[in-house]
């Protein structure tokens, strides 16, 4: 029975070892932020961090990551305290329908950790596996650059919706 640490919590996985990590996260553990966008590794909506590295959870048999530490967007921050990456995507409108957003956030987070001075080319390379159909990518890149440049602080207050 594989065991994982998911967002800091130790779990024993009951699903068969050949089930994908995506399936385990969504169906067994109820963590629904990684999405089944294509289940072929082609869109990036399923990306999670495996021991800090961004990987396609739809391509990983869970038995292959026995003992690993998995981070999903739920582990990056909360509405009460958004991480820098999350705050940047929110403030700079890097998300429209939101379906691709968790994958982009984790890939961006990993980029920030390994290459805090990344330039445009490196950003685009790091996000190359992530497809967004809504935004046209401009606002996403702006959000990533804002996060890299330290223009956005981690959120400490929930942002209130405006009612007309």
């Amino acid at each position: 029975m594989p065991s994982l640490t998911v967002n800091g919590v130790a779990v024993e996985v009951e699903s068969a070892g050949l089930h994908t990590l995506l399936h385990v996260l969504r169906e067994e553990l109820g963590i629904t932020s990684p999405k089944a966008g294509c289940q072929q590794g082609g869109c990036g909506a399923c990306t999670v961090l495996v021991d800090g590295e961004p990987r396609r959870s739809c391509l990983i048999p869970v038995a292959a990551v026995d003992g690993a530490s998995i981070t999903t967007v739920e582990g990056l921050g909360t509405p009460e305290r958004l991480s820098v990456v999350q705050a940047a995507f929110h403030e700079r409108y890097g998300s429209q329908c939101g379906f691709c957003t968790p994958g982009f956030l984790l890939a961006t987070y990993a980029l920030l950790e390994r290459s805090p001075r990344a330039g445009r080319a490196e950003i685009e390379e790091a996000l190359a596996g992530h497809v967004c159909r809504c935004t046209g990518y401009v606002k996403i890149i702006e959000a990533v650059e804002a996060a890299l440049r330290g223009e956005v602080a981690a959120g400490t207050e929930p942002t209130e919706a405006v009612t007309a």
């Binding site: 699903s15 590794g41 990987r55 391509l59 048999p61 038995a63 292959a64 685009e124 390379e125 596996g129």
Partner: protein, 270 residues
Amino acid sequence: MARADVDLVLPASAEEAVAAFGDGAAVTVVAGGTVVMPELVAGRLRPERAILLARAGLGGITREAGRVTIGATTPISALEDGDEPLATAARHVGDPEVRAQATVGGNLCTGASADAPRGDLQAALIALGATVRSAGRGGERSEPVEDFLSASAGRLVLDVSYEDGPRQTGYAAARRPHAHHYTILAVCTARTADAVRVAVTGAGPTAIRLRAVEAAVAGGAGPAEAARRALDDVEGSLRDDALASAWYRERVLPKLVEDALAAIDGAAGA
């Protein structure tokens, strides 16, 4: 066979992997999972028995005794800053996340899908004159990559190796300007003191060594003249797929051959 009923083996060493693989009958090998897992999830592959190589210790790159040896489960990303034309071919596979998970062995064993060519590393390895070491029926075997490709069924790749030495290399490709797009057609060339080797990916179900082009070069032909032999070894294997038609490939291949040869031309004495 339900996923839960699959006999799943996780060998903890190369020896265990070879033993579990046996003669390769009725067993599915999962290395990086980038090719196999989508087939499993879609229900097109229903193995009774599967071997996960994640812990078999088959990864790693060593340079020893004049040879570079790449373990089967080495991630493709590990090649990106290494020897050409392998490095460029590696960088053209998928995207960083996929490359970090996909393996060299898996890439060697994968043929074209219905929609696109795969196995970009094969042509680069052929150009490098690489040898595949594999296990399976009849025991361990070592053979040139191009021979392995025509007889890879029932083999478990252990490693692939090539001579560690100076060479000039070339790489010319027809690609579309998208991230993680499969390569339509790519020609890899390498010149050592002994010979020039030329191979193509995207012109058939697996990579093909362009022997007629090599022979022309050995006979003194320059890039343009040798490129006229480009289609000799791919006759009948060009096909239409989601990326391009056979018609298009037929016309582009000689140009790519010429470009890839020009990259190593006049290297004599250089």
